[in-house]
Amino acid sequence: MLQPWNKNGLTVAERLQAEGISRRGFLKFCATTASMMALSPSMVPAIARALENAKRPSVIWLSFQECTGCTESLTRSHSPNLETLILEQVSLDYHHTLQVASGEAAEEAREAAMKENNGRYLVVVDGSIPVDNGGVYSTIAGITNLEMLRETAEGAAAIIAVGTCAAFGGIGYAKPNPTGAMPVSAIISDKPVINVSGCPPIPTVISGVLAHFLTFDKLPEVDDLGRPITFFGQSIHDRCYRRPFYDRGLFAESFDDEGAKKGWCLYRLGCKGPATYNACATTKWNEGTSFPIEAGHPCLGCSEPDFWDMGGFYQPLSTPTGDVTRTLVYGVVAGALIGAAAGSMARTRKIKAQKEHYKVTTDDLEESS
């Protein structure tokens, strides 16, 4: 299903029509696309108008220092679903995990797509880019990731950084970052880069962003971290169905207590939901089946930068990440020692003052004083 399509230059509407799909079918397509982009259903007419003229974009998918989890997320759903629909509308010209071609032929396909669609193609990146020592830690066909990204980005219309590694550096970037891993945005500054973070990202969000580009020929509006606001505009906590428990102060305190069984809030078990912006709580996973909190596990905050370095996954958000107990103990001990020393010095001054005592006598009481 994800093979490069022959480019036929038709718009989406034309293509659907050519396949004998009715206008009603097109409407259905528009409605589901709106839902996928997390846009309001009231946007359907605008989407319909846009899709009338939308052409299939060429997509080049670059996989760098990554685990293929992002691609898995997108492709390994147990049944063909919503995402397929939109992926059928794009021309995936290069994806070294999925494409049939390999070796030089694969790289040729990439170069061909770049040449043919110069200035118009979309680059999707998953994985971080190691930059230390000239980027030697990860190469494809002898080309470093760094070089390939720069080269491919050159003629791109926009770049979609898929997954937390591409968006924020992810695990490669986590301390001590031995390869000098960097996110896409740290390397490419002259092209629009959108971050679809998550480890992995929600498949619908990836396709939603693609759909947006396909529909409106531009990237959706983004937040401060370059993520599409429609999906990352609200925190997990804001949209969590367990939120009422948080508000009422009902918390699970271990994974097998009453609270856990009753589905209470997982804050005390380290849920990072309040500080994590993503669409899991509404879009959910596995065809809308569930998401981690619904399955009884606290949110890890995987769509946020540095989530690997934000203290333990099971450490509540309100707690410090370092060993504060030690600091407290050392501080008190050191303070007590300094206090004792300062106090002794004060005592010495006091004794000295007592030695230098000025004795008040009747002389001090007479008129002249």
């Binding site: 799909i21 009715s22 206008r23 009603r24 079918g25 409407l27 259905k28 397509f29 409605a31 589901t32 709106a34 839902s35 996928m36 997390a38 309001s40 259903p41 009231s42 359907v44 049944s79 063909p80 679903n81 919503l82 397929t84 629909l85 949209r239 969590c240 169905y241 367990r242 939120r243 009422p244 428990f245 994974f255 097998d256 069984k261 009753k262 589905g263 709580a281 509404t282 879009t283 065809e287 809308g288 569930s290 619904e294």
Partner: protein
């Protein structure tokens, strides 16, 4: 021992009844939408996927809305089902793909969901098709 393998642990079904109720605000929103329809002739579409539903919230909403008089099936790009709820003017619109999986689900508050109506473009095609058909019949029937 892996707790998951321990038969003595009884995992309760996630309760929902009194503790939750994310369906209630939605019902309120629907009521508001009905008002809008009646007073301003404005229709409302709610995307179920955009709601922070917990387990069985959707079921509860479905039960609350009940079954109405109309149930229609549309066959294009997979099946779509349009069913009226027990409350006139409130509809479920459910889109499935060719493999039968639900890909989008809406509640529409309107006199008639647009997708049920024959579309202008389709009618133009239909006119041509019927014309062609008639020609064929004439030719053949003569």
């Amino acid at each position: 021992m892996n707790p998951a393998m321990d038969d003595s642990i009884e995992i309760e079904p996630t309760p929902c009844a009194k503790d939750r109720g994310n369906d209630l605000p939605v019902l309120n929103e629907i009521l508001h939408a009905l008002n809008e329809l009646l007073t301003h002739d404005r229709q409302t579409v709610i995307d179920i996927k955009s709601l922070p539903f917990g387990p069985v919230d959707e079921e509860r909403l479905s039960i609350a809305l009940g079954q109405g008089e109309v149930a229609a099936t549309i066959h294009t790009l997979g099946e779509s089902r349009v069913t009226e709820t027990a409350y006139a003017g409130i509809w479920w619109v459910e889109h499935r793909n060719e493999q039968g999986a639900v890909i989008a689900k809406f509640i529409e508050v309107t006199y008639m969901p647009d997708i049920l109506k024959a579309q202008h473009e389709d009618v133009i095609v239909a006119r041509q098709k019927l014309k062609d058909a008639l020609e064929t019949i004439k030719l053949n029937g003569a």
